[in-house]
């Protein structure tokens, strides 16, 4: 694991806490809004990281899950007048069910075949959101539902609380036997099933947890910005989520949060260039990171450290053995 070093982890956590506390004292509505969205994106980035970084299932349609959560929550609030809290939970749950649809192809397909199936499902969902005008109001989107809370500071603190709960939840999952099973599937699925891990169950579970978190984040986002359009199910948001995880460091819990902070603040500070160039920058960052620093910021720190201490980097073979050993040692 990239964060085996306690000191590094603590350093990162302190940095994140300081960054998220700053806007509370600065008391600027704009900054509060930006940091709130950053917190929500952290949740979604963590959910993609559970799927790709830990369970090894590459999905390019994650924004669709976020969109399902957002639409469910907004529609329930708009048509049935449910309270915002219930709506957000329902959004997460429905998104988790759609996540099972995403999981179904993963049982039979691997590699590019599976990635294409995720794109197909997410495009279908986006087309439904775009064309089913009676319910979703088509490309105009939904906007007349109730906001999260009326006070910006309280809304921000709420987003922050949900983010912390999600991080702790993800940490708990990853540190438990479930997380070890996910990682063994990522390293070698055949070997994992030969070792007695029920790969079908754990893959479906990975999708369920990931989609639940993504839907929760999406629903929170919908009530935070009070507009839902089919754009949030598009490839640009999927790309942004991927970039956040890859920049922060895949296969870590803190990584996606760091990535969300870095990338979202970068994009927000470059807003004067226009949305189009933001996307170009995001994509170029993805390419550079994946070509030259596959581990992201987390790995970068580790590499510097290992060079300075002249330590060798752990081999993946060793890692598999350790994971399987730990998994069975627990039994």
């Amino acid at each position: 694991m990239a964060f085996s070093n306690i000191r590094n982890t603590v350093l990162f956590i302190i940095t994140i806490i300081v960054i998220f506390i700053l806007p509370i004292f600065y008391r600027n509505d704009y900054l509060l809004r930006i940091f709130g969205i950053m917190a929500i994106y952290s949740i979604i980035a963590i959910s993609w990281d559970i799927l790709y970084g830990f369970a090894g299932q590459l999905s390019f349609g994650h924004a669709a899950l976020m969109g399902v959560g957002a639409y469910t929550s907004a529609l329930l609030n708009l048509n049935f007048g449910f309270s915002v809290w219930l709506c957000i939970i329902m959004g997460g749950l429905l998104s988790a069910l759609i996540g099972l649809v995403f999981a179904f192809p993963s049982l039979r397909l691997r590699g590019p075949y599976f990635v294409i199936s995720t794109i197909a499902i997410s495009e279908t969902l986006r087309l439904i959101a775009n064309n089913w005008i009676e319910v979703t109001n088509g490309p105009y989107g939904l906007y007349k539902f109730s906001p999260l809370l009326n006070d910006p500071l309280q809304s921000y603190l709420l987003c922050l609380c949900v983010m912390i709960i999600c991080i702790l939840f993800a940490y708990y999952i990853i540190k438990s036997r479930i997380g070890l099973a996910f990682q063994s599937i990522r390293e070698d699925e055949v070997l994992a099933s030969a070792c007695g891990i029920n790969t079908t169950f754990f893959k479906v579970l990975a999708f369920f947890i990931s989609a639940f978190l993504a839907g929760l984040g999406g629903a929170l986002y919908a009530h935070y910005v009070v507009i839902v359009t089919p754009t949030i199910m598009g490839s640009s948001i999927s790309c942004l989520i991927m970039a956040m995880v890859l920049v922060g460091g895949k296969g870590t819990i803190i990584g996606p949060v760091i990535g969300a902070i870095t990338l979202y603040s970068l994009i927000e500070s470059l807003r004067f260039l226009g949305v189009v160039y933001n996307l170009v920058i995001t994509s170029i960052i993805i390419i550079l990171i994946i070509l030259f620093f596959p581990g992201g910021i987390a790995e970068l720190f580790k590499t510097i450290k290992s060079i300075s201490h002249l330590k060798s980097i752990t081999f993946s073979n060793l890692k598999i053995k350790k994971i399987i050993f730990t998994y069975h040692g627990d039994d």
């Binding site: 064309n131 160039y277 994509s283």
Partner: protein, 293 residues
């Protein structure tokens, strides 16, 4: 109100559309068949072709016959550049298949944004449209569609002759069957990869150029044509070129006929649903042999 003439006309339109889908799918299938890499920027290259051809036509103001070689050469070079700068390094380093997927996905976003900033988001259609229609037995088909489809079929035949008879084509087939064995026989597989990627990009560009006079395009349609090409490639069986073309004709016909049953906006769902069903129950494709995934 059910009209038999309308039905026949829709079927013919579908088959003509299918020829274009076939050309789109072939580029993707060729790259996948040889390199086992999926080019996610395929759809955006198709759209880029549409824009570039029309813009060159306006700028250079030379006959279309002289323009086409320049155009195809440009896209071949573009393919070589993409291959050299983005895909060769991870391939040589031996990092997994996910790397090339993510890189080409990011590339597709870059191309989309670039087109958006250069040509704007308004629907764009090309200047050189052939007006008129062919009419027979009460059925009328747009002349431009027929001409585009004929060129597409011609392009496919050239590709097959190239793969079947030329030395390079034979080398491409050898590498696609077993790259290591091809190395031992003295075929430089890296050179073959370059040529294949260039050819795949050129096929996408031809499809884009033929699409230009028929449909107005926007930069956002890259994903749309990408999913179409994917649907075709998957239904036909990945890496299987004959299957790809048959699947393209099938998809074009089904899409044209689907407007009798469902709303026009949901037409694109047909291909996606067919693709998901094929992926789940017969993922080697309708004609494909059993492939290890």
């Amino acid at each position: 109100m059910f009209d038999i003439l309308l039905l026949i006309q829709q079927i013919i339109n579908g088959l003509l559309l299918g020829c274009l889908y076939g050309l789109m799918g072939l580029g993707l299938a060729l790259i996948f068949g040889v390199m086992r890499e999926v080019n996610f920027a395929h759809g955006d290259i198709i759209i880029l072709g549409t824009y570039i051809l029309s813009t060159l036509y306006i700028w250079l103001n030379i006959p279309i016959t002289f323009l086409i070689p320049i155009y195809l050469f440009m896209f071949f070079i573009l393919g070589l550049i993409i291959n050299k700068c983005l895909l060769e390094y991870p391939r040589l380093k031996g990092s997994g298949g996910d790397t090339s997927l993510i890189i080409t996905y990011a590339l597709s976003i870059i191309l989309e944004s670039a087109m958006l900033s250069i040509w704007g988001a308004y629907p764009f259609s090309s200047r050189f449209r052939m007006e008129g229609a062919l009419s027979f037995f009460g059925i009328s088909i747009g002349l431009q569609r027929v001409v585009s489809s004929v060129i597409a079929i011609f392009g496919m035949i050239i590709l097959f002759l190239f793969l079947k008879f030329s030395m390079t084509g034979k080398a491409i087939r050898a590498v696609s069957q077993n790259a290591q064995l091809a190395w031992t026989l003295g075929i430089n597989a890296h050179r073959i990869y370059k040529i294949t990627f260039g050819t795949g990009v050129v096929l996408a560009a031809i499809a884009g150029g033929l699409l230009a006079p028929i449909y107005a395009v926007t930069p956002y349609q890259g994903a749309y044509y990408l999913t179409k090409s994917f649907a075709v490639v998957i239904i036909g069986g990945m890496g299987n070129l004959i299957g790809t073309i048959l699947a393209a004709l099938l998809l074009g016909t089904l899409e044209s006929l689907s407007v009798f049953i469902i709303k026009g906006g949901f037409r694109d769902v047909v291909g996606l649903l067919l693709m998901i069903i094929i992926l789940l129950f017969k993922h080697e494709g309708l004609l494909g042999k059993e492939v290890r995934v």
